[in-house]
Symmetry: C2
Subunit: 153 residues, 2 copies
C-alpha cells in the first residue's frame, strides 16, 4: 500500500464528513485540480484505503431502537472454536460490529435490534444454544453520545 501524502489525508478528511462533496470543491479546498482529486480518490479506493462509501442511517428511523454492547467469554479458545464464533457473529444481521479483544473477555459485540424481545431471542439463538459461550454481559445504550467512523486526524 502506497504511503499517503498530505493531499491524500486532506481529501480523506473531507470525504469522511461528506463523500458527496464534488471533486471541484475538494480541489479548491486542498489546492488541486478536480481530475487530480479524482485520480487520488480512485487510487485510494483501489488500494482499500477507502473501504466503502455509505449512507449513515438513523437506526431509530428504520425501527431499530436499541443499541446493545455484549461482552462475550468463550469456554474454549482454540483457533477453530474462535473461528466458529467469529463466523456466526459475522453472519448475524443483528451484529453491527464485532471485535476480538484482549483482556477478561474474548469478544466485544455491538448489536442493533428493534426491541428487547428481539435481543432476547438473539441471545437464545447465538449464546444459550452455543455450548462454547461461557458467559455474556449486556449493556443497553440509553444515549448515543457519539457514533461515527470519522477518524480524527
Amino acid at each position: 500500500m502506497t504511503q499517503l501524502d498530505d493531499f491524500d489525508r486532506a481529501i480523506l478528511r473531507i470525504l469522511q464528513q461528506d463523500n458527496r462533496t464534488t471533486q471541484h470543491k475538494i480541489g479548491e479546498a486542498v489546492n488541486l485540480s478536480a481530475p487530480s482529486v479524482q485520480r487520488r480518490i480512485r487510487r485510494m479506493e483501489a488500494e482499500g484505503v477507502i473501504r466503502a462509501n455509505v449512507a449513515v442511517v438513523d437506526p431509530a428511523a428504520v425501527g431499530l431502537q436499541l443499541t446493545i454492547f455484549v461482552e462475550l467469554e468463550l469456554v474454549s479458545e482454540t483457533p477453530d472454536e474462535i473461528d466458529a464464533v467469529k463466523k456466526s457473529l459475522l453472519n448475524a444481521p443483528e451484529v453491527q460490529q464485532c471485535f476480538y479483544v484482549t483482556g477478561e473477555v474474548d469478544f466485544m459485540v455491538v448489536v442493533v435490534v428493534e426491541s428487547m424481545a428481539v435481543y432476547e431471542d438473539f441471545t437464545r439463538r447465538m449464546f444459550f444454544e452455543n455450548g462454547n459461550i461461557r458467559k455474556f454481559r449486556t449493556f443497553v445504550s440509553m444515549d448515543t453520545i457519539k457514533s461515527g467512523s470519522a477518524l480524527g486526524f
Copy 2:
C-alpha cells in the same frame, strides 16, 4: 418524521452498502424511476433518516492501528456530572463512538489511536485527571471481525 415505506427501505439498504450507486440503478433495483428515487433520498436526508454520506476509511491506512473499548464507571451520576463527561468524550478526537449505558458500567467508549503510548496519554488526560472517573477497563481489539453501520433489515 414520515413513516418509511418499502421503497424507502429498499433504497436505504442499497445506500448503506454503496451510496455512489446511481439513482438510475437504484430505480431499476426497486422498480422506480430515477427522479422518484432522488426525491425519496432528498426527503430522507431532510428528515434526518439519512444522517450523513461518508467514506469509510481503513484506520490502519491513516496510521491509526488500535481500536480500543473502554468501560467507564463514574463516581457521581448527577445529570451535571454525566453531562460534563459526555461533553469531554464528545470533543475528544480519539473517541470514535460513545454510549451511555445501563448496567454495571456507565459509558462504553470506542477509542481509535496510533499506539498504546497515545492511548496511555489519552487515559491520563481523560480519566486519571478527571476526579469523577471511578474506574475504567480497557479491551484492545486484536481483530476486527465486523465493522459496519450497515443495519440488517
